[in-house]
């Protein structure tokens, strides 16, 4: 059994590598600057424009090799500071992660107790439901101008946007998880004359924990998506700002390397929560 599983893992890994190699190879080929019709241009003109433009074509997409170079450049010196608007990618990521955690933890601190109350009381559940349904689908970037306008501080505004976007999945899942705790488990607590706090922490919380963790996992994904967009809008620091700054420079290689890092950090955040989720999940 074990060897079968191992060989499957090995094969799938090999296939992944192969797919990646094919993809990168095709990309490398496609991004090669086209050998143009050899338009003869004035050498003085050629000096003033990009290589491709000098021969009458457009600057091509960067090749995977260009991106590798850009990535290496960023990773080999991730923490430099060369002025307000030019800091290493490590610093930018740290800023983004810091903001995400601040907004996310705040959201969790509000959503979980509030979700608990909502889930415990069908009355509150029904009363708040229309608000939640209306606010939940609002795009993060729609909150941004409102936040900037009312909070008047872009740093707090971006944390607020994380907060407001990551609160819904946690709130809804907590309320749902709490509301759908099996009746019989509650009855066990009742026949044992368990007090309200003990019941909340020893029965309802562990019972709803997998659902709550699912919400938290969705939320961290949203928070990480939102921060990049929010920072692109507000600027200053963070990986979103980095992408925007490179976009400003039309440097696709730098943008792609930032995208790779954004994906990687998102994956790590997700896996961290998945691990916690596994700890609180119980088979029935």
């Amino acid at each position: 059994m074990a060897t079968l599983k191992e060989s499957l893992a090995l094969k799938s890994a090999l296939l992944s590598v192969l797919l990646l190699a094919v993809f990168l190879g095709l990309w490398q080929l496609a991004a090669q600057p086209a050998a143009s019709g050899g338009t003869i241009v004035d050498p003085e003109y050629a000096k003033l424009v990009g290589q491709a433009a000098a021969t009458g074509s457009k600057t091509p997409m960067p090749t995977p090799a260009d991106i590798g170079v850009a990535l290496w450049k960023h990773l080999s010196d991730p923490f430099y500071v060369r002025g307000t608007n030019d800091k290493g990618i490590g610093i930018q990521l740290a800023w983004s992660i810091g903001r995400v955690l601040a907004g996310y933890l705040l959201a969790a601190a509000v959503a979980i107790p509030l979700g608990f109350l909502i889930g415990m009381s069908p009355l509150v559940y029904r009363a708040l439901d229309p608000f939640i349904q209306v606010l939940k689908p609002v795009s993060p970037l729609a909150w941004m101008p409102l936040a900037l306008y009312t909070i008047k501080d872009s740093q707090i505004s971006s944390i607020f946007v994380i907060f407001i976007c990551s609160i819904w999945p946690m709130l809804i899942n907590t309320a749902f998880g709490v509301a759908s705790v099996r009746r019989e488990w509650l009855n066990v607590a009742r026949t044992l004359e368990v007090g309200p706090f003990r019941k909340a922490f020893r029965v309802i919380l562990p019972a709803a924990a997998p659902t709550i963790m699912t919400g938290m996992r969705i939320s961290i994904g949203i928070a990480w998506l939102v921060i990049v967009a929010a920072e692109m809008l507000v600027g200053g620091t963070g990986i979103g700002y980095f992408v925007w700054n490179e976009w400003n420079n039309l440097s696709i290689a730098n943008i792609v390397s930032a995208i790779l890092l954004i994906g990687l950090v998102g994956l790590v955040l997700d896996q961290m929560l998945a691990r916690i989720a596994r700890l609180v999940t119980y088979p029935e």
Partner: protein
């Protein structure tokens, strides 16, 4: 009049608005201290509802339940419940489930004492090796043993069991029934148990309460199990001289009388406060002792 330990007085329960007929109404019966009482009736007649009211998990629409001369007003650690679906907390181990109950009963006990007490009851139901397993890793029978251990561990004044063995295979069920018999003999527990299994009732119960079909179900009569506890052995039960008489009486009730009991009422009269008590087992060994009501033609 001296009240029984559990005294159900004029109980009724209806769901929904007042237009709906009651599931059962005007239900009167009692359970004496140390007595093992089984309630038998068809599915849907309201057995679980009655048990929930006794447990304090549900409130009746009418009537009261008096336990130890006090009207109950909610669940109590004195009345332990063994649920049909065992209702174990799946995120806790076997030990954790029982320790949770024990520490709810004696909140001031130190951890070690709780653990030691819990382990004692795990051993009692024969799950010594499985203390650290999660419920999901247990078979159905083992889960129900945990449920029994949990109920017993809080040393309640009485046990309320809702078809505790109905989901088990015959072999496991038999073993658990023996277990329950043994434990009740040891602890002199007062037990109120719901079942729809006739043999189970004969094996376990000192007295069997027959419930008619709903809606508007009521208690038809009490059947005293005249087989002494010591003579009730699962393997030799069917060879006991009283066995078939009692069994036939119960089956006859379930098959025919339970759904047409109002006709019996019309013919013979009925006092809901004092339903008739019958002893069909004695009639088998001494036909003069007891008169079995006539069977009604359909």
């Amino acid at each position: 009049m001296e009240r029984a330990m559990i005294s159900v007085e004029g109980l009724a329960r209806r769901f929904g608005d007042h237009g709906q007929p009651a599931v059962f109404e005007d239900v009167w019966f009692g359970v004496e201290k140390g007595e093992f009482v089984c309630l038998i009736g068809h599915s849907g007649c309201g057995k679980t509802t009655i048990l929930n009211v006794l447990a304090g998990l549900d409130r009746p629409s009418g009537g009261t339940v008096i336990v130890d001369n006090r009207e109950i007003d909610g669940p109590s650690l004195d009345r332990a419940v063994i649920f049909q679906s065992h209702a174990l907390l799946p995120w806790l181990s076997v030990l954790g489930n029982i320790a949770f109950a024990v520490s709810s009963r004696w909140p001031r006990w130190p951890r070690a004492k709780v653990r030691e007490h819990a382990l004692r009851f795990i051993e009692l139901v024969g799950l010594k090796g499985a203390a650290d397993k999660r419920p999901a890793e247990l078979s159905g029978g083992m889960k129900q043993r945990v449920g029994i251990a949990r109920a017993l561990s809080i040393e309640p004044k009485m046990l309320l069991m809702d078809e505790p063995f109905s989901a088990l295979d015959a072999l496991t069920r038999g073993m658990l029934q023996d277990e329950v018999l043994r434990i009740c003999a040891e602890t002199q527990q007062t037990v109120f148990m719901i079942t729809h299994d006739v043999d189970e009732a004969i094996l376990l119960a000192d007295r069997i309460v027959l419930m008619t079909n709903g809606p508007g179900a009521c208690i038809a009569e009490f059947v005293v199990n005249t087989m002494p506890r010591a003579e009730r052995q699962r393997n030799g039960l069917h060879r006991h001289p009283q066995y078939y008489a009692i069994r036939n009486h119960l089956v006859e009730f379930l098959v025919n009388r339970s759904r047409a009991f109002d006709r019996e009422i019309a013919e013979h009269g009925y006092d809901s406060r004092r339903p008739r008590t019958v002893r069909p087992g004695l009639a088998a060994i001494n036909p003069a002792a007891e008169v079995v009501p006539l069977r009604h033609a359909n």
